[in-house]
Symmetry: C2
Subunit: 190 residues, 2 copies
């Protein structure tokens, strides 16, 4: 059986804590949903911030909601070079020892000491997909995507949860390297 | 036998005709070599130009020498989106029907009707490598690169010539997608 998965390309974005959100946009501020994302409960927001690095500023970086326990900026390796920080590839949430940055909102600014990562690619599986595909949480797979510019991504981590929707997450550079857009189907191979 | 090849990452750059060079930098202008590139006779130049697209301008794009029979701008898919042109993946020299742009030098400007490409990845083999690896001109191979962010590039064209040096050419996005820098070794697989 072919194990097919839709692929989503993430552009640079940021997750913020409730505390940081209120510093950036004012006390009591709530995120304004622009649109839902592929994972249930996750959404893109109207709110954007500027990110100041040692070398340059990334303007208009979108916040993704809901608020999280830790503030985390997800950028590409290209962005990291542009900003002047080390581009460290990490799974989301694993920010210890990563670079920091300054975040500027409409009402205030926050300096974080760590939290700038290049998100490592991964596949979300709903528990039912996990059974169907014979894969379990934290399995490492290969995923084949694209045609003319086709690539096989190695070391792709599988994440399984009853709240997840079937979806592979890669960044813009990984998507461009494969010449694909959002919603292209990839094939999980082992 | 492992078929190993060093990988070079190309940032955006432009090749120009002698005629265009003289419009951009003045009559009789000759290119100033900054450094030699991996392929014999090819070199990076001090001269840079600005590239005007429908949506934005790419500043300071380096000219690679020597002058060529056709002017050709090589950018990433990300650059293409930034400029506001279609990103068309093509082998170098195959520019028919590709987008144009305006090129601005210190002394003048040139509008090209076509010539903006996203260069398709390829491997240069010297004739002796070709024999050693059992590969011939225009063979299509896969190349495995990278570790933590490892990828296998499919549809990589082999080019063989007695003037070539062993080298794989990919663009910055392909390099970043694999988490590699210049000079990393890739393995040709079939």
């Amino acid at each position: 059986m072919e194990k097919l998965v839709p692929v989503s390309l993430s552009n640079r974005h940021i997750h913020v804590t409730k505390e940081h959100l209120e510093i950036l946009f004012g006390e009591g501020h709530e995120l304004t949903k622009t649109k839902d994302l592929s994972q249930p409960g996750q959404f893109a927001c109207d709110e954007k911030v500027d990110i100041v690095g040692p070398k340059s500023t990334l303007k208009g970086v979108r916040i993704l909601g809901p608020v999280r326990p830790e503030t985390q900026l997800e950028i590409s390796l290209y962005d990291a070079r542009t900003m002047g920080v080390d581009g460290i590839v990490r799974p989301s949430g694993n920010i210890k020892g990563t670079p920091g940055c300054t975040i500027i909102g409409t009402k205030g600014q926050v300096e974080i000491k760590e939290g700038v990562i290049v998100a490592s690619r991964h596949v979300h599986l709903h528990t039912s997909d996990s059974e169907k595909f014979g894969l379990k949480d934290k399995d490492i797979v290969k995923v084949k995507v694209g045609k003319e510019r086709g690539v096989i991504f190695e070391n792709v981590m599988v994440r399984v949860h009853p709240t997840y929707a079937l979806d592979m997450h890669i960044d813009i550079e990984e998507g461009n390297a494969a010449g694909i857009g959002n919603g292209t189907m990839g094939e999980i191979i082992r």
